[in-house]
């Protein structure tokens, strides 16, 4: 084995913290480079060990511990937990309002709109069954129910758990709104 390879093996053994053989120790004594490298490793080990005793400030320690405690207990500083709860609440509230305001009218409207898919004119059918005041109330209720909370249909569907129905109704209301030239705000 060449001297260079021997030096490399010895350095690697020292770096890995292996016990050095007598032959290796003898080589180090005779080799200036290995002697220097050994001293460097020992210095680095010593300084590194001292550095690892150094610490972040007490203020930083307290900050981390307090924040971690709040996060783990799902407190005010737990943004992820708070967001899920808040969206769930809004979704449920939107869904409840949707049902309350629309009430029976939505059931009829839904039926009408489904019928509309069967190529019956939406406007004509709606005007046959609702007064203009009732139509206005329905439009307002639907838009407030969802848009008033700043929720998109997708959000309300995901958090309110009534995705399928809302998606179907969304499509129908899109047709309805287009026909009546009504703009829904905040609804995707």
């Amino acid at each position: 084995m060449s001297d260079a390879m021997k030096c490399d093996d010895i350095v690697e053994s020292m770096l890995r913290g292996r016990v050095l053989s007598d032959e290796m120790k003898h080589h180090i004594e005779r080799c200036e480079e290995c002697t220097l490298l050994k001293k460097s490793i020992e210095s680095l080990d010593a300084i590194g060990g001292e550095e690892r005793l150094d610490d972040i400030s007490a203020r930083a320690v307290v900050t981390v511990l307090n924040t971690a405690r709040e996060l783990q207990s799902g407190g005010k500083s737990a943004p992820h937990a708070r967001m899920v709860d808040w969206w769930l609440l809004r979704g449920l509230a939107a869904a409840a309002l949707f049902v309350v305001i629309a009430g029976g009218g939505i059931m009829v409207l839904g039926r009408l709109l489904i019928d509309a898919v069967d190529e019956k004119p939406v406007v004509a059918v709606a005007e046959l069954h609702f007064s203009s005041t009732e139509l206005d109330e329905l439009r307002t209720g639907i838009s407030k129910g969802l848009a008033g909370f700043g929720l998109s249909y997708t959000d309300a569907a995901e958090n309110g758990g009534i995705g399928g129905d809302l998606e179907r109704i969304r499509k129908r209301i899109s047709m309805f709104s287009t026909s009546l030239e009504y703009e829904f705000y905040g609804i995707n």
């Binding site: 350095v11 220097l36 690892r52 320690v61 511990l65 971690a68």
Partner: protein
């Protein structure tokens, strides 16, 4: 090491505050030492350490119990340090060196010599290439084994050892030049 941390990681996944505090107490100093060596600024390193441990709380569910938390912490620490360097640019060891210089001037002789050696070594480390300095930081300041450093950095074991050997040769050369200059 993985066995010792196993119960702590399971506790962390159960949102046990005490488990987190034990892990924090155990690893905050080596993580701080490692990050400070990379970002070279104490205040910045403190910010990074805080971010690392808050990530630990938020992502406890993702930690692989079998692999332990140590490698995970240093991996995150490395990412935070790299992000901090990108945001803040590279800093020389100005703050740390200034303090060391002042303390050397006031020290008794033997202490002064030791501190000079330390400052010299830290200066030499600053002069290394990034990849060389990183393995020095992981191995000597973070206290990682090469196997752990491989996990943290994603760089092969042989490459890490080769870089470390190269870094050591440079450091040894700088220190030898420094010592002969003083004679």
């Amino acid at each position: 090491m993985a066995d010792e941390d196993r119960e702590l990681i399971l506790g962390l996944k159960r949102r046990d505050v005490v488990s987190f505090e034990v892990i924090f107490e155990k690893y905050r100093r080596p993580v701080f030492s490692y990050i400070r060596g990379l970002v070279r600024d104490r205040a910045l390193a403190e910010d990074c350490v805080q971010e690392v441990f808050l990530e630990l709380v938020k992502n406890a569910d993702r930690i692989d119990v079998a692999r332990g938390v140590r490698g995970w912490l240093f991996r995150v620490a490395r990412n935070k340090a790299v992000d901090a360097i990108r945001r803040n640019g590279r800093r020389a060891l100005e703050g740390d060196e200034a303090v060391s210089s002042e303390s050397i001037a006031c020290s008794p002789d033997a202490e002064m010599i030791e501190k000079e050696g330390r400052v010299g070594l830290m200066k030499a480390i600053s002069g290394l290439q990034d990849e060389e300095r990183e393995i020095i930081m992981m191995r000597f300041f973070g206290g990682l084994t090469f196997a752990e450093a491989e996990q943290v950095s994603g760089i092969s074991l042989n490459t890490l050892i080769w870089r470390c050997r190269r870094a050591l040769k440079k450091l040894a050369k700088d220190l030898a030049a420094d010592n002969s200059g003083r004679i």
